[in-house]
C-alpha cells in the first residue's frame, strides 16, 4: 500500500503511537536515571493504570475521574513498592534489582488476572471524542487524535515538574551524578520514593488514557514493556528528552515499515535499536554517567 495518502496516514499514526510510547518510556527512564533501578514492573504499572481506571469508570461513568483515580492509584502503589521493597535493593547487584522488579510484575499481573479474569475489558472513549474524524487525506479515530493532545499535556506537566521545580532539579542532578548530589547534603533516598511514584504514575496515566484504544488484559504490559525498553535505549537511558525522541522514532519506524512490509515492523524497531547501540552506545540523547 505504498502511496502518498497512505504514507501521510502512517506518518501521522506513527506520531500517535510514538507519543504514547514516549509517555510510558519517560516514566521508566526517570526511574532508572535517578534510582539506578531498571524497573521491569513498569509494564505492570501501565496495565494497573488501565484496570484502576476501568474500575473507577465502572462506578462513576466519568472518564476524567477514571484518569485521576487510575493515575493516583498507580502512584500510591509505586510509592508503596519503593518504600516496602525496592529501597532494600539500592545497594544490591543489578541482577537482584531485575529479579525483584520482575517478581513484582508477575505478582501484579496474576493478582489482576485473579481478580478480573483473562477476558478483555473495554473502557469507551469520552462521548465527545467518540467516532471518526476526516482529516482530508484519511479518516482517523477521534479519540486517537485527542490522545495526542492528552499525552502532550501530560509530557508538558512532566517537563515542568522536572525542569521548573526544586525536586525536578534534584532528580536531574541525581541522574547526572547522584554521589555529588548526596555530598551536597541532599538526602537523595528521600527523593527516590517520589521519583518512583511519578515514574509509575506516568505509566499508570498512559494505561488509562490508552484504555479506550486497546482492550485491557492482564498481559497488556508485557509487549509495551519491551517496546519501552527499545525506546529508552534509542533515546538514551535516563534522558527525559531522549524518551520523547525515542518514542517518536519508534512509533514512526513501526508505522512506516508496516506500510512497506508489515511482517518487518517490529524487526526494524530492533534493528534500529541495534544500530543505535553500535553507533552511539549511550543512546541519541543519553549521557555517560548512568549508561
Amino acid at each position: 500500500m505504498i502511496n502518498w495518502a497512505n504514507f501521510i496516514s502512517q506518518m501521522f499514526n506513527g506520531l500517535v503511537l510514538g507519543a504514547l510510547l514516549a509517555l510510558i518510556s519517560s516514566g521508566l527512564t526517570i526511574i532508572y536515571g535517578t534510582l539506578g533501578v531498571l524497573n521491569l514492573a513498569h509494564g505492570a504499572m501501565f496495565m494497573l493504570g488501565g484496570y484502576a481506571g476501568y474500575v473507577a469508570f465502572t462506578y462513576t461513568h466519568s472518564f476524567i475521574i477514571a484518569i485521576i483515580v487510575g493515575s493516583l492509584f498507580v502512584m500510591v502503589v509505586g510509592v508503596l513498592i519503593e518504600r516496602v521493597i525496592i529501597r532494600h535493593f539500592y545497594g544490591r547487584p543489578d541482577e537482584d534489582q531485575l529479579l525483584v522488579t520482575f517478581g513484582i510484575s508477575i505478582c501484579l499481573v496474576e493478582l489482576v488476572r485473579f481478580t478480573f479474569g483473562s477476558q478483555s475489558l473495554t473502557v469507551p472513549p469520552p462521548s465527545i471524542f467518540a467516532g471518526i474524524t476526516s482529516l482530508g487525506f484519511m479518516y482517523y479515530p477521534t479519540y486517537r487524535l485527542a490522545l495526542v493532545g492528552i499525552v502532550a499535556v501530560a509530557l508538558l506537566a512532566l517537563f515542568l515538574v522536572l525542569y521548573r521545580t526544586r525536586i525536578g532539579m534534584i532528580v536531574r542532578a541525581g541522574i547526572e551524578d547522584s554521589v555529588m548530589v548526596a555530598s551536597l547534603g541532599i538526602n537523595v533516598y528521600r527523593v527516590f520514593a517520589v521519583v518512583f511514584g511519578i515514574g509509575a504514575m506516568a505509566a499508570g496515566f498512559a494505561g488509562i488514557v490508552n484504555a479506550p484504544v486497546v482492550s485491557l488484559t492482564p498481559d497488556m504490559g508485557e509487549a509495551i514493556l519491551v517496546q519501552t525498553f527499545v525506546v529508552v535505549v534509542i533515546g538514551g537511558v535516563g534522558s527525559f528528552p531522549g524518551a520523547i525522541l525515542g518514542g517518536l522514532i519508534a512509533g514512526e519506524i513501526i508505522s512506516i515499515t508496516s506500510m512497506i512490509n508489515p511482517g518487518y515492523a517490529y524487526v526494524m524497531l530492533f534493528a534500529a535499536m541495534t544500530l543505535v547501540l553500535v553507533l552511539r552506545p549511550h543512546g541519541l540523547l543519553g549521557t555517560q554517567s548512568r549508561a
Binding site: S9, N13, L17, Q119, D219, A223, S258, P262
Partner: protein, 452 residues
C-alpha cells in the same frame, strides 16, 4: 582383594534374599487373586516403549496438558482446560455421556484412574515442550495434550514422535499439524484451515458475489499462514483477489498501522485470521478506524469468546467454527455435554472445551478398544478409521494423516435484539459434513513416521 570378595559375596547373598522374598510375595499374591484378574492384557505382551509400561503399571495414569493460561490465548486455554477437567472427571466416574462415546468404559481407562497434570504454555512452543518433557520423565504420562497455538501443536507433535508418547492435539488450526508436520504419534480432532476455508468460501461467494477484493489480517506463524493460504486458494476459484495481507506478530499491542493499510486498500471484505485476544483487539480497532463500515468482516477460524469480548461487533459477521452450543437442538450428546459443563462451570462451553472433551473421550475409547495402553496398539485403533460418535454426530479419523473427519459450522452473528439469552450470540447458518471439505491425505505432505 579380600575385602572386595567379601563385598561381592554380600552382594550375591543380598540378591538371593531379595529374590526369595519377591518370589514368595508373588506366589502368595497370585494365590489370593481371582483367576480372571491375573492376566490383564499388558506389559508381558509388549516391549517397553516411551512411558509404557511404567506409566500404566500402577492404579493411576497421568496425562500431561500444556495450555495457555497467560498471554494472548489465555481465555481460550482456560476454556480448553475446563473441557479436559470435565472429561477426566467423567471418564473416572464412568459418566453416561462418556459411555455413549466409549461403550467399554466402566470407570477410568482400563480400570485406571486418570490424573491430569497441567502446565501453562503461554502459547509458546518451548515452554510447552519443557513442561511436557518434565511430565514424561517425572510422571511417565501416557498421553500428552495441548495446543492453542499451532506452533505449540507442531512442537508437541515432534516431541511425541521422539518420546513415543501419544499426543492428542488441542486447538490447532494449521494445515501443517496433520499435514507436513504430521506424526504417527499425533492425532487431531478439530477442524483446521483447509476445512474452514472449504466450508466458508462458498458461503462468502454466495453472500458477497464473485470477483471481490479481500484484505487479510494474518498472525505470523504456521496457523496464520496456512489458514490465509487456504482461504486465498478457495476464493480464487470465484475470482477473488488479495489486495493486501497484513502479517502481524502474535500478541501485537496495536493494529493501527495494519488497519490504515487495509483502510487504504480498497478491499470489499476483511478476512481476519487473527485469533485469541489478537482477534478481539484487531476487530475492536478495525471498528475504531471505520474499517468495518467500509468492508464486510469475515472470521474464517472463529475464536471462542469472540462475540462476548467484542461487544456487538460480530453482529452480521460470518464465521466458521467447530462447535456452537445451539447445535444441541440437533445433537443429543451436545445437549448432555452443554448441560453438564454449564452446571459445573456456569457458562455454555465453547469449542475449546468441546474439542478438549471429545478428544479425551475418543482417546479413552481407543485405549479401551485396544485393550492396552501400548501406544502402537492405541494408534492402530485410531487408524482403523472406524465411524465413532462425537458430540456432533458420527466422525472418523483418517489412517493416512490422523485427522478427524468432522463437520464445520458456519455461524452468523446475531443482532442484540434477536438474542434469546445472554449467550445466544450466533445463528447457525449451516452445518457442513467433513468429508467434502478435506484435502487428499497426502496433499499437505504428511508422512507419519514409525510406530516404534
Amino acid at each position: 582383594m579380600e575385602k572386595r570378595s567379601m563385598g561381592e559375596h554380600e552382594y550375591k547373598a543380598g540378591v538371593s534374599r531379595r529374590s526369595l522374598l519377591q518370589a514368595s510375595a508373588g506366589l502368595v499374591g497370585g494365590a489370593l487373586l481371582p483367576a480372571g484378574l491375573t492376566m490383564p492384557a499388558f506389559a508381558a505382551d509388549h516391549p517397553a516403549i516411551g512411558t509404557y509400561p511404567a506409566g500404566s503399571s500402577g492404579s493411576t495414569v497421568f496425562i500431561g496438558a500444556s495450555v495457555p493460561r497467560t498471554g494472548t490465548y489465555a481465555v481460550q486455554g482456560e476454556d480448553e482446560l475446563k473441557g479436559y477437567q470435565l472429561a477426566v472427571e467423567h471418564i473416572n466416574e464412568g459418566h453416561e455421556l462418556i459411555k455413549k462415546i466409549s461403550p467399554k468404559t466402566k470407570k477410568g481407562v482400563l480400570g485406571k484412574e486418570l490424573k491430569l497434570l497441567v502446565a501453562d504454555s503461554a502459547a509458546k512452543p518451548n515452554e510447552a515442550v519443557q513442561a511436557q518433557q518434565r511430565f514424561i520423565t517425572e510422571n511417565k504420562v501416557m498421553m500428552i495434550t495441548g495446543g492453542t497455538s499451532s506452533a505449540v501443536a507442531v512442537a508437541l507433535n515432534k516431541l511425541a514422535q521422539r518420546e513415543k508418547v501419544l499426543f492428542v492435539c488441542g486447538i490447532s488450526g494449521s494445515n501443517d499439524t496433520t499435514g507436513k508436520d504430521c506424526v504417527r504419534y499425533g492425532v487431531r480432532q478439530n477442524f483446521f484451515g483447509q476445512t474452514a476455508a472449504a466450508a466458508i468460501a462458498p458461503v462468502m461467494i454466495k453472500q458477497f458475489g464473485q470477483n471481490k477484493k479481500a484484505a487479510y489480517m494474518t498472525p505470523d506463524y504456521t496457523y496464520g499462514h496456512t489458514v490465509t493460504k487456504s482461504m486465498q486458494d478457495a476464493l480464487a476459484k470465484a475470482g477473488w483477489t488479495t489486495v493486501t495481507n497484513q502479517v502481524s506478530p502474535l500478541g501485537a499491542p496495536d493494529y493501527s498501522s495494519y488497519l490504515l493499510n487495509i483502510a487504504n486498500s480498497g478491499a470489499d471484505v476483511l478476512i481476519n485470521v487473527n485469533w485469541g485476544h489478537d482477534a478481539v483487539l484487531s476487530i475492536q480497532q478495525a471498528k475504531q478506524f471505520g474499517v468495518l463500515d467500509k468492508m464486510k468482516l469475515v472470521v474464517p477460524y472463529q475464536v471462542p469468546f469472540l462475540a462476548r469480548e467484542t461487544g456487538g461487533l460480530m453482529e452480521g459477521v460470518y464465521a466458521a467454527t467447530e462447535y456452537w452450543w445451539t447445535v444441541e437442538d440437533k445433537y443429543p450428546l451436545a445437549k448432555m455435554f452443554n448441560d453438564t459443563f454449564e452446571k459445573k462451570f456456569g457458562y455454555k462451553p465453547e469449542w475449546g472445551a468441546e474439542n478438549a472433551y471429545i478428544s479425551f473421550a475418543h482417546w479413552a475409547r481407543m485405549v479401551e478398544e485396544a485393550g492396552s495402553f501400548y501406544p502402537p496398539d492405541v494408534i492402530k485403533t485410531y487408524e482403523k478409521g472406524e465411524t465413532i460418535p462425537s458430540l456432533m454426530g458420527d466422525v472418523h479419523y483418517r489412517p493416512e494423516d490422523h485427522q478427524c473427519v468432522r463437520p464445520v459450522i458456519i455461524v452468523k452473528g446475531k443482532k442484540a435484539a434477536d438474542m434469546k439469552n445472554k449467550e445466544d450470540f450466533y445463528d447457525i447458518v449451516e452445518i457442513i459434513p467433513g468429508e467434502g471439505l478435506m484435502q487428499k491425505p497426502d496433499a499437505f505432505g504428511c508422512k507419519l513416521g514409525d510406530y516404534t
